[in-house]
């Protein structure tokens, strides 16, 4: 029984689970040094981007609706970008969210673009970048570090954003 107020030990649970399934233990990414860039201006003047791990809805790729079973066919393997002007249809059937306690019926629980727009309208944030960027979720840390992260940086620089809000699903 998890004690009230104690977060779920995801690394341990995942390790135990895949060991029980017969796989070798996964080595989670760990670094002692952590890079840090202070925000250079007041948030009310900053341009902010959103990075998500949600996937664009693909009509041909099977069930991606709320509560759909894990759907590997809906995964994506390259960084993508969509305009932040509208609200894109992004789903999370391709990842291991908590299907028992979450329906994923409300996109705003994993993709806060509508709330970010309200923050811009309220003057809390200067502006949003022109695009939202999608980060492929990958068991290979090497691919994320060597390929996807540099590509996301390039796109953020192209969009001249000062800060990024990242939201895993």
């Amino acid at each position: 029984m998890t004690e009230d107020g104690v977060p779920i030990p995801y690394m341990q649970r995942t390790r135990d689970y895949y060991l029980a399934l017969g796989y070798s233990p996964y080595r989670w990414a760990h670094f002692t040094e952590v890079p840090f860039t202070p925000l250079r201006m007041p948030l009310a003047r900053a341009r902010v981007a959103l990075i998500t791990t949600a996937a664009p809805y693909q009509p041909e790729a099977g069930d991606q609706g709320p509560g759909a079973p894990y759907n590997a066919a809906a995964k994506f393997y390259q960084v993508y970008s969509v305009s932040s002007a509208s609200l894109p249809d992004l789903r999370i059937s391709h990842v291991g969210y908590d299907r028992r306690h979450t329906s994923a019926k409300d996109i705003n629980t994993y993709f806060p673009l509508a709330r970010l727009k309200e923050a811009v309208a309220a003057g809390r944030i200067g502006a949003l970048g022109p695009r939202v960027h999608g980060a492929p979720t990958n068991r290979s840390q090497r691919v994320t570090i060597d390929t996807d992260a540099p590509e996301l940086l390039r796109r953020c620089q192209e969009d001249a954003v000062d800060a990024v809000v990242l939201v895993p699903s």
Partner: protein, 127 residues
């Protein structure tokens, strides 16, 4: 893997002059990786940005993340949202709960995992 992916990306952005904040639900994965700023919600995976159909909770969660973004004094700053998913913590026991799985269901899950892996590999390689 989502939490690890965004942690690795956030680190890369920070190293190249862009400030970041992660909004997430898996505290151990993000902190083990090591990131600049993290707003932790003790919610089931899939609710990093607040409760479903609860605009107030979502706006509050974003506002906390923005405050962390503008005011974190140093890297590895984690703030935990005061919002609670439920007064009962029982939901936390269900995620990948091995005690409820028989050897047969474990074998079944392994088979399913291999199928998923094959689909993913095919898609990755454009087959």
């Amino acid at each position: 893997m989502c939490h690890q992916t965004v942690s690795l990306v956030a680190r890369h952005l920070e190293a190249h002059g862009i400030s970041t904040v992660i909004m997430g639900c898996a505290r151990d994965i993000v902190e083990h990786c090591g990131v600049a700023r993290f707003l932790f919600s003790d919610f089931p995976l899939g609710n990093s940005a607040g409760r479903p159909f609860d605009v107030e909770s979502q706006a509050h969660t974003l506002e906390l993340a923005l405050r962390v973004l503008e005011s974190a004094p140093a890297p590895r700053t984690t703030m935990q949202s005061p919002l609670r998913w439920s007064t009962d913590a029982a939901w936390k026991d269900d995620y990948l709960d091995l005690t409820k799985l028989t050897p047969e269901s474990l074998a079944e899950r392994r088979k399913e995992f291999e199928v998923v892996r094959t689909i993913a590999r095919g898609k990755r390689e454009g087959v």
